[in-house]
Subunit: 218 residues, 4 copies
C-alpha cells in the first residue's frame, strides 16, 4: 500500500527482498504512524484543512520524512484511506439479494465515516487532470473492490440464480456496469443527496438492481 517515492517509486517485486543498500534503513514504524495520523487529521479537519505539516507533527515525524515517501497530499491520503476499503467483505448470506443488500449496507457504513466521506470525493476531484493520481486511485481503491462483484456473481451462478456467461468480454462489461451502479448509487445517496442509507433504502435498491439484472444477462 505504501510506495516509496524517489528510490523505488514503484512497488518492489513482491518476493524479492529489496537489496539492502548502504546507510541507515528507513524507519518501519513511521509509515504506519503517518497513515494513521493522516486518518486522524482527516476526521478532525477534513480534506481541505489537512496539512502535511500537521500530519508530520501528529505522527512525530519530520516533514522531510513524509515527502521522501509520498509525492504530496493526494497520494498520501489515497494510501491512508485505501486500507479502509479493504475491510469490505462479502459473507455468504444465502441469496444474491441478501448478499447485495449486505454489501450495500457495509459500503454505506464505510462512507459514513468522516475520513472516507471527506477524502474520497476530494481525491477523485483532484484526479481530474492528474493521470498518475487517477491510476493510483484505481489500483489502490477502485479495482480492488470489483472483486466483490465478481465473488457475488460467482456465488450466485453456483446457486443457479444467475446463468453462466460465455462471452467473457461481455461478462467483464456487465461486472463493471454493476459495480458502477452499486457504488455510484451508494456514493450519490450518501455524499450528494446526503440522505442516510437505511435498510429500507438498501432493500429497495437491491430489489431494483437484482430484478434488472435478468434483462441484461442474455
Amino acid at each position: 500500500m505504501v510506495a516509496g517515492m524517489p528510490p523505488p517509486a514503484t512497488p518492489p517485486p513482491p518476493p524479492a527482498s529489496p537489496p539492502p543498500r548502504a546507510g541507515r534503513p528507513r524507519s518501519t514504524t513511521a509509515d504506519a504512524a503517518i497513515l494513521e495520523a493522516t486518518r486522524d487529521a482527516l476526521v478532525e479537519l477534513g480534506w481541505s484543512k489537512l496539512t502535511l505539516g500537521d500530519v508530520a507533527i501528529r505522527a512525530g515525524v519530520a516533514k522531510t520524512t513524509l515527502y521522501r515517501r509520498w509525492a504530496g497530499k493526494n497520494e498520501l491520503v489515497v494510501d491512508a484511506v485505501a486500507v479502509l476499503f479493504d475491510e469490505l467483505e462479502l459473507p455468504d448470506r444465502g441469496s444474491l439479494l441478501a448478499d447485495v443488500e449486505g454489501v450495500v449496507l457495509q459500503f454505506a457504513a464505510l462512507l459514513e465515516r468522516p475520513e472516507t466521506k471527506t477524502a474520497l470525493m476530494a481525491v477523485v476531484a483532484e484526479s481530474t487532470g492528474d493521470e498518475p493520481l487517477r491510476q493510483r486511485i484505481r489500483t489502490a481503491i477502485v479495482d480492488r473492490q470489483k472483486r466483490l462483484v465478481l465473488i457475488g456473481r460467482e456465488r450466485a451462478q453456483a446457486r443457479g440464480e444467475l446463468p453462466y456467461e460465455e462471452d467473457s468480454e461481455a461478462a467483464a462489461r456487465n461486472a463493471d456496469l454493476i459495480f458502477d451502479v452499486i457504488a455510484g448509487a451508494v456514493v450519490h445517496r450518501t455524499l450528494v443527496s446526503c440522505e442516510p442509507i437505511d435498510e429500507a433504502w438498501a432493500h429497495s435498491f437491491t430489489l431494483l438492481l437484482v430484478s434488472g439484472l435478468g434483462s441484461i444477462q442474455e
Copy 2:
C-alpha cells in the same frame, strides 16, 4: 442563482422587488462576468489551482468585489456551474427507455466538460462538514435536477408504461431512489471509473434500470 452575501445571503423571495436601499447599487454586469471567468478558469486550471485573485483579474473586477458577493471559492464555483446543470432537458423520445437513455447521455456529456468534471466532486467533498455549502449545492444543483425524474415518470405514466402511484410518500422515495441510481451510476462511471459513457453503456444501464423499475412499483 447569484446571492448577495451579507445582506440577503439567501435568494430573496422571487416576486418581491428588492427594496432600493441607499448607496451605490451593485454592478449588475459584474456577476455574469465573474461566473463566466470562474468557468473559464476551471477549464484552464482545474479546481485546485483556481484562485479567486485570478478569477477577479479575468473578470476585470477587484478581488474585494468578489468576496463581497461570495463567501469563498466553494460558493462561487457552485453558482458558476449550477447554470450548466439547468441546461439538461428531457425531450420526449416516445418511450421511457428512450427518454432515460437520452438523459443519461446528456448528463454524461455534461460531466465530460472539464469545468463540471473538476468542480462537482470538489465542492461535494468540501461540503462534508460544511452544512451551509451542502444546502447551497442541494438547492442550486441537486434538487433542481430531480425535476427530470418527475417529468419522465409523469410522461411514462401517461403512456401507460408505469402505473400511477397512490402513496405519494412512496412515490417521492422512489423518485429519489431513481435519481440517485441514475446520477450515481453516471457520475461514478465518468469520474471514478473514468470510462467513457457511450451509447452501448447507456443502453445496457437503461435496460437494467427500467427492467428493475417494475419490481418496486407495487
Copy 3:
C-alpha cells in the same frame, strides 16, 4: 483652520465673506464634529491605526463629506491638533526666567496629551517630501507659536532684562534659534528620551537657556 478642498482650496481672503454660491451650503456643525472625532480617535488609536472611515463614523458623517474638505489624513490631523497648540499662553510671571519656565511646563503638558504626542511627530515625518503639508504645518502650528518667543522677548526688553536689538534681521534669527532650542529640547525630552518634564528639569533648562542668551545678544 478649515479649508474647503476643491472649491477654494486656499484660505479665502480673511475679511471678505465667501461669495454665497448657490446650492446647499456645507454643514457648519460637521467640521467641528469631525475635528473632535479625529482627536478622540487619535487618543484611542494613535496615528497609525487611525482611519478616515472610522473618523467619519465617529463624527456621524459620510466619508465623502470628509474628503470634500480635507485632502487626506495628514491635513485633517494637522487641523485637528492645531487648535490645541493655540491654547499656549505666556502669562507675565515677572521675570524672563519665570516666563520661560512657565511656557516650558505648558508646552510639556501639551505634549503629554496622547493626541498631540502621537500626531505631532507623525505629521512632521509625513511632511518629509510633501511640501504642501510642510507649509500647512508651518502656518497652522509652528509659526503661530513663535509669537510666544516674540512676546517674551518684548516683555524682557521692557523689563530691561534684554537689550533692544537694532539689526532686525539678526533679531529674527535669534528668535528662531531660541524657538528651536526651547521647542526642540522639550519635544526631544518628551518624545524621544521619553522622560517626564518636571519642574526641576524645566528650571535647569531655563537657567541654561537664559544664561546663554547674553552671549549672543551683542
Copy 4:
C-alpha cells in the same frame, strides 16, 4: 543590532556564542541585504510608502523571511537606520566650543539624509503607545549617542574648560539635559522648522549652549 524575532527577541548576551541549535541556520547574508534594501527604499519612497513586500524584493528575499526576523516595519526601520547614527564621531578640535560645533554639524548632515529624515520622526511617532518599540529605539539609537556628550565633557574637563562634578547623579542629569538640548534643537531646526543648519547657526547655537553651561555647573 539585528535581533532574531521569536527565539531571542532581545539582543543575546554579547559574549555567549549562540548555542548551535538544530535545523538550518538563518542566512547570515540576508540581514545585511535586508537592512540595506530598507535604507534604499526609504530614500526612494519615504517612510509611508515603504512596503515590506518591496523591501523583500529589493533584498532578493521572501517576505516571510523578513517577518521571521522583525516584528514589523517599525522594528525593521529602527535597525536599518541605527547603524547610520553610529557613524557620528567626536574628533578633538581643541576646544569645547569647536567640539560641540563639530558634532552639531555632523548631526545636521546626518539628518539631511533622506533615509534618516523620513524615518526618525516616523518611528518616534509610532513608539507612542508601543513600549517595546520605544525601548528598541532607545537602546539602538538614542542611548548609544549619549556617549558623545560624555566624551565631550570628559575632554573639556581635561582641558580645564569645565569643572569636575562630584555628585555623579547630578552629572548624569546634566548630561541628559545637554543631550536633549543639542539633539532637540538640531532635530527641530531640521525637521520641524525645515531650515538648513549652516555654520552660522551652528556657531550661534553652540555659543548659546556653552555659555549657558557655566550656570548649571555649580
